[in-house]
Assembly symmetry: C2
Homo-oligomer: 264 residues x 2
Amino acid sequence: MSTESVESRGGRIRLVVSYDGADFHGFARQKGLRTVQGVLEDTLSNLLGTFIEVHGSGRTDKGVHARAQVVHFDLPYGPPADRIVHVLSRRLPNDIIPISASQVDSTFHARFSVVRKTYRYHIFRGNLPDVFKYRFSWHVPEALDIAAMRRAGAHLVGEHDFTSFCAAAAPQEDKVRTIYELRIEESGEDLYLYCAGSGFLQYMVRIITGTLVDVGLGGMSAERLPDILAAKSREAAGRTAPAHGLCLWNVEYPIVYGGRVLDL
Amino acid sequence: MSTESVESRGGRIRLVVSYDGADFHGFARQKGLRTVQGVLEDTLSNLLGTFIEVHGSGRTDKGVHARAQVVHFDLPYGPPADRIVHVLSRRLPNDIIPISASQVDSTFHARFSVVRKTYRYHIFRGNLPDVFKYRFSWHVPEALDIAAMRRAGAHLVGEHDFTSFCAAAAPQEDKVRTIYELRIEESGEDLYLYCAGSGFLQYMVRIITGTLVDVGLGGMSAERLPDILAAKSREAAGRTAPAHGLCLWNVEYPIVYGGRVLDL
């Protein structure tokens, strides 16, 4: 048992966590598999002595990382919000790091209150593979036409039916989503694709990235993107980029929520 | 079996490899444990159908990484040197990456021919831990007096008996080594300690780093370093920095060896 005093606070907690997704079977709890939600729930439940359910802003797939995933959970009692990062950081494994915690109104919901999510996809362009980047990036040593990739990406910004850019088996009925921004940044041998939107379908950022890489490699014209959207078929788009290059970068909520100002 | 043609070349091969040491029990082969030497030997032996012994420039401890470890081995026959990187890169796991291979004279020895080795120790100074740096750096969020660390390090440059800076159980009789250079570079929240020398004793770079951090934190005076060297006792020095921040950065050999110019 913990030696830390358990105070009778409780209430809804909003927690921001980073994780290295390589050794997780994704975010969502799955029986018998190591998942981020599972580890968070086990850790909190062991701490409190009662089952604590954790709600994430959304799932991330097996192997996908998070710089700032947001979750919420309700505590019947327990440490105050300003102690939670300290308490959890001593109990969580090294591949999940709690960043910040705050007490929120019970109307706050990590998934339903989201107003904007940003993913970052990291492509490593070095001639040789780099063992220190392998875990967090996709190695594409061939020459990429970045200007063509940017032209292709511009066709995806806005509200569209993204059926062509999601797993054929994606569970959601409604495939209409809004991409607010799709930005490609170059930094030496690293290429970062930032994709911000209202929400994302399964594999959506990875299929967008894979299709843009197909364009960059010259295998597909940037001007075909409107037709690919219109086809509403996964077969129309390009390849799916590997999971390990993807990172949930940021999840945004209304700045003021239930009378409280939310911080990252 | 491989579909690649096996040519009757053979001879001594010098191979440079990078590895992410996190999931290895160090470099040196150990029965029943995953080691870098073990994986290289198994991969080459499976490829050639006969046991191939791999000789490294030196061991690295459990958890220590390598940007450019150098090994040599003798092939009875097999792919020419300029095909070896390609052949191995398809067979090695993702945490060992072959960088370059060349045919060398049989007088070349990965360990005995070394003229200079450089290690790099990475300290991450961010206020919060960073899950993406955890695997490759030591997180030291407290303020460090870098100038004091540099003064302390200067006392170690040159030829000294490094008994105080190696594992008490280190097997070598002779503890005299030469440090050619000890350089601390700052880059934002990252601090890199480069240590180049004729050779290193067990834990030597980690104890040097740990001691310099003790100095940086104010727990030890930089001017005590000559006394620590003179004490010839592990107890005199500071803590041992963790393995995962350490990386074998470079191994140098005579530029011309056996009539051949060696490349990295």
